[in-house]
């Protein structure tokens, strides 16, 4: 599959919530963006879709760190996903997509594939 990507503005800085997540629509499907002001970098983006419950809920999980790894816990069955790689800490055969994200002025930019990848939407 082609990996052509583009940076796209998905929301404003005032939409973010410190130490927590929000969800945005992207051509790659729903993405969860987390803002952890105490971490460097402070922004993380992973898929919003939870493969354990098949629901779009990841942005509503609790964030934190386990053994130094920044993580989010799925709000449904509580598995932890690395915010850097998307890998599930309880079962490393499961991985949710992770995206590059950065702040440009007051815009949050996300690097997403150009084509609509349907499996990410599920």
């Amino acid at each position: 599959m082609s990996t052509k990507t583009q940076w796209q503005a998905v929301c404003k800085v005032e939409d973010l919530i410190a130490d927590s997540g929000i969800a945005v629509w992207t051509p790659a499907g729903p993405v969860a963006i987390f803002y952890l002001p105490q971490q460097i970098p402070a922004l993380f983006a992973v898929g919003h879709f939870d493969p354990f419950s098949n629901a779009n809920v990841i942005a509503r999980g609790i964030t934190g760190d386990l053994g130094g790894e920044p993580v989010v816990a799925s709000p449904i069955y509580k598995q932890h996903f690395s915010l850097r790689t998307g890998v599930c800490l309880e079962d490393d055969s499961v991985r949710i997509p992770s995206y590059s994200v950065l702040l440009d002025g007051d815009s949050v930019l996300l690097e997403v594939p150009v084509e609509n990848r349907s499996e990410a939407v599920a």
Partner: protein
């Protein structure tokens, strides 16, 4: 393939249970099942027979329904006694016809033994076994004053209670020197006798009846061998049971010397096509006069008929625990110490009327049996010891000594047998957990990964942690009570840190006392502590990221990412207008609507963005949040109480509303449930709640630390006949003490069991203020109550907070994965199978 005829004789408790089992097997498809019952009524619960006098009907006691029999294609012949088994032609005969069988099951139960006393067949001489017997007793009691039960065993005492409840002056006549000779010893029997006599039932022991003749003052007179006599209007014989083996005898099956149809481990009689189960069966020279062994036989036989070669009945435990005329009586295993070398430990408190005896093995290591009269508190713990051969502690007497004398409180997870189910989602037993620990797992996470325990609904996590900690500790592994890797403290220690140092935010706490950034364990725990101590809005900016999604969005997340809405309905009382609003809102948003187990209404399927709109409407109609998402007060269930109910002695609804309004905002280590019943009939099930209140004619009885759920526990009686003010003060203090000292996600039941000194200690703290913190607790509760706000009201009024409820911040589109279908006229999420 033509079907075989399977005939069951007897439609009693065990016969019915057998049917329930067999229809679930694959073999069922190969059978035409025909059942004969001599009684005119469908199988009913004989164990609770006496409730018939308390107002229960046959329908209440029935074990199945005619519809169920029809649905399962079982051909049921009631009121049709089998009179003959023709084994040569494989046929049973009844007055209405004869029926062929390939397999035959005898579940004929037993009949009451009536001692051969002259005059025992006079009118008003009755027995106590069937509903028909009870009708006769009721009829006979009418117009009578005195009733006698012959036989002071378990059933006899139950019958005596029944006579008493029919308004008769009740007597028990026992041939042996003490009551319940099978289960109790002399001291136990004597205490039971004293207690029963205090209740107004007269007990006559060592009395042999020689004749029953016409009475002078009453209908009958019983003459005894010591020349004394007793006048009575009716006699109930309850002198033991005899297996109903008439058919087996007449058809030449092997029966025991003293009756009972001989069976092997597969419940087959001496004829391989004839089986016997329940009280009519004799296994290893023993009859089992209890229902549980009968059920085990029924399951065994269903398995055997289904070709399961492992199915075997291998005996059963006959320990019993009951309340006879309100008096606790328990008997476990070898209660009389008949095992060679057995030794006894006895505790006999005549002042409070508590007798306890333990029978222990010669080496002092195992518990062989026990007798309890007056208080069954230690029964469960003792039974676990006896059944599972758990090694006794060094000073076993602690198990039966009262706690003030240094007795041990109920055992924690240690007392659970290896077979105890810990996680029902993944069918993990305590034994499985010990297994993986022995194989090298050395922490909770490892055990979870290996056994999958607690990875389903997660409901078992607290119990799992208890078991794992306890097992690790037993193996010498130091178990950290740290809440998680971010804080080297337990919840209680964190509580103190927050309070003493005036910590107001999570960040402050972790910077000063922890490390890292926190996680989904410590954040909600600290949020709950902060809420209890300072009671700020949970969506205040500093707290918002600490909460589980349920708390963040003040609604419970469902499996498809939508939420449920549960408005508070204090005490379960609701006006028609409010009901209409609920209906209108549910209709407008197409919400699945259900009455909950907590006397309120749950609306399911709201999306994140709909939540504030819906709540705006509900609040306008006068509703408040029900905290169904929070670790806080859920509902105060009530019964209708004295306002309407003919038995009610206090206004239970009023009290329930008062309690619900008072404690509705309180954040606690785990959820809290309460209930108020208007009289001792206990329709609100208060004894299963964290706080249970039952009305008395003088005030209220308070029960604490009950639990339903996964590990049910009856609440303990805490104080009696309290006034409204006394009641509220006691509850205030119990709750505040709990909130301050309990561990994270610890219900009051577990908290109390782990509290050093247990119930007595809690009573001292709350009722006698032994720690001198009473006023502080009161003041703290007052602050919590004063600072209450409806979180939803605050949230919908604040545009900043409302922003949180956007599903996607850059788009108004709905969540694309939520798919719905209709069922029973309502909307529900599609199942995985339906999506595929």
């Amino acid at each position: 393939m033509s079907k075989k005829n399977l005939i069951v004789i007897g439609n009693g408790m065990v016969g019915h249970h057998f049917l329930e089992q067999i229809v679930e097997t694959e073999a069922a498809a190969g059978f035409n099942i025909v059942v004969f019952g001599e009684e005119p009524l469908l199988a009913y619960d004989r164990v609770h027979l006496s409730e018939y006098f308390g107002g229960s009907t046959h329908a209440d006691l029935a074990m199945g329904t005619a519809d169920w029999y029809a649905e399962k294609n079982i051909d049921l012949h009631l009121d049709e006694q089998v009179t003959e088994i023709d084994r040569d032609n494989k046929r049973v005969v009844t007055p209405k016809g004869s029926y062929d069988y390939e397999e035959l099951v005898l579940a004929t139960g037993s009949y009451p033994f009536v001692p051969p006393i002259k005059g025992n067949d006079r009118p008003n001489c009755l027995v106590y076994r069937t509903l028909d017997d009870l009708d006769q007793i009721r009829a006979s009691a009418e117009g009578g004053k005195v009733g006698v039960v012959v036989g002071g065993g378990l059933l006899g005492l139950e019958a005596a209670n029944a006579l008493k409840s029919l308004g008769l002056q009740a007597h028990v006549v026992e041939f042996a020197p003490r009551l319940m000779p099978v289960q109790l010893d002399d001291d136990g029997g004597a205490l039971l006798r004293r207690k029963i006599e205090e209740l107004g039932v007269q007990v006559h022991t060592e009395k042999a009846t020689t004749a029953i003749v016409e009475g002078e003052d009453c209908r009958l007179r019983m003459n005894f061998s010591d020349d004394s006599h007793l006048e009575t209007d009716l006699i109930v014989f309850s002198a033991g049971i005899r297996p109903q083996d008439t058919l087996a005898r007449s058809s030449g099956l092997d029966v025991g010397e003293r009756g009972g149809i001989v069976i092997n481990n597969q419940c087959a009689t001496s004829d391989a096509n004839i089986h016997a189960i329940g009280e009519c069966a004799l296994w290893d020279q023993r009859i089992f006069g209890l229902v549980a062994p009968g059920y085990t036989m029924a399951r065994t036989l269903a398995g055997a008929l289904n070709g399961d070669s492992e199915a075997a009945f291998t005996g059963a435990d006959m320990s019993t625990k009951l309340k006879l005329l309100g008096v606790d009586v328990g008997s476990i295993g070898d209660a009389h110490g008949q095992t060679p070398g057995a030794r006894n430990i006895r505790f006999n408190d005549e002042a409070t009327g508590v007798y306890r005896r333990m029978v222990i093995s010669e080496d002092g290591k195992t518990l062989l049996g026990a007798i309890l009269v007056g208080d069954n508190g230690p029964y469960d713990t003792l039974l676990q010891y006896a059944l599972n051969g758990i090694e006794l502690p060094a000073s076993p007497e602690a198990l039966i000594l009262p706690e003030s004398e240094g007795g041990a409180p109920a055992l924690g997870p240690d007392a659970l047998p290896d077979t105890a189910s810990i996680c029902s989602c993944h069918n993990v037993t305590k034994g499985d957990i010990c297994g993986v620990i022995d194989a090298g797992c050395c922490d909770l996470a490892g055990v979870k990964a290996e056994t999958k325990a607690s990875t389903g609904c997660g409901g078992c996590s607290a119990l799992l942690k208890n078991v794992v900690d306890c097992e690790l500790e037993k193996r010498g592994v130091e178990v950290s009570t740290d809440i998680c890797e971010h804080f080297p403290y337990s919840r209680q220690e964190l509580f103190h840190l927050v309070k003493v140092n005036g910590v107001r935010t999570f960040r402050q706490l972790i910077t000063e006392h922890g490390k890292g950034h926190g996680c989904d364990i410590c954040k909600p725990a600290v949020a709950s502590i902060l809420a209890t101590v300072w009671n700020e809005h949970i969506l205040a900016t500093d707290h918002v990221a600490l909460q589980d999604t349920n708390d963040t969005f003040m609604a419970n997340m469902q499996k498809n990412g939508t939420y449920s809405i549960v408005p508070r309905v204090p005490g379960g009382e609701i006006t028609p207008d409010k009901l209409i609003v609920l209906g209108e809102v549910a209709k407008e948003y197409d919400l699945y609507t259900k009455i909950t187990g907590g006397q309120r209404i749950d609306l399911f399927g709201a999306t994140l963005s709909e939540l504030p709109e819906i709540w705006e409407k509900l609040i306008a109609a006068g509703f408040e949040t029900g905290h169904a998402y929070g670790k806080s007060l859920r509902t105060v269930k009530s019964c209708v109480g004295s306002t309407w109910c003919r038995y009610g002695v206090q206004d239970s609804v009023g009290m329930a509303i008062l309690l619900e309004e008072r404690y509705k905002g309180l954040r606690s280590p785990h959820k809290l449930k309460m209930a108020v019943s208007g009289c001792t009939r206990e329709c609100a099930e208060a004894q299963s709640k964290d706080i249970g209140v039952i009305a008395t004619d003088k005030g209220w009885n308070l029960y604490v630390c009950g639990n339903g759920g996964m590990r049910p526990r009856h609440a303990d009686l805490f104080a009696t006949d309290l006034s409204d003010e006394e009641l509220i003060r006691a509850i205030d203090r119990v709750l505040m003490f709990y909130v301050r000292t309990a561990d994270r996600l610890q219900r009051t039941s577990v908290w109390m069991e782990n509290l050093e000194g247990g119930l007595d200690y809690l009573k001292k703290v709350v009722l006698e203020d032994s720690l001198g913190i009473g006023e502080e607790l009161d003041a703290h509760m007052a602050t919590v109550i004063d600072t209450y706000q409806c979180e939803w009201k605050t949230a919908v009024e604040d545009p900043e907070k409302r922003k949180r409820f956007r599903e996607f911040v850059n788009d108004e589109r709905k969540d694309p994965v939520q798919q719905w279908t209709q069922e029973r006229d309502q909307r529900r999420p599609v199942t995985e199978a339906e999506t595929a």
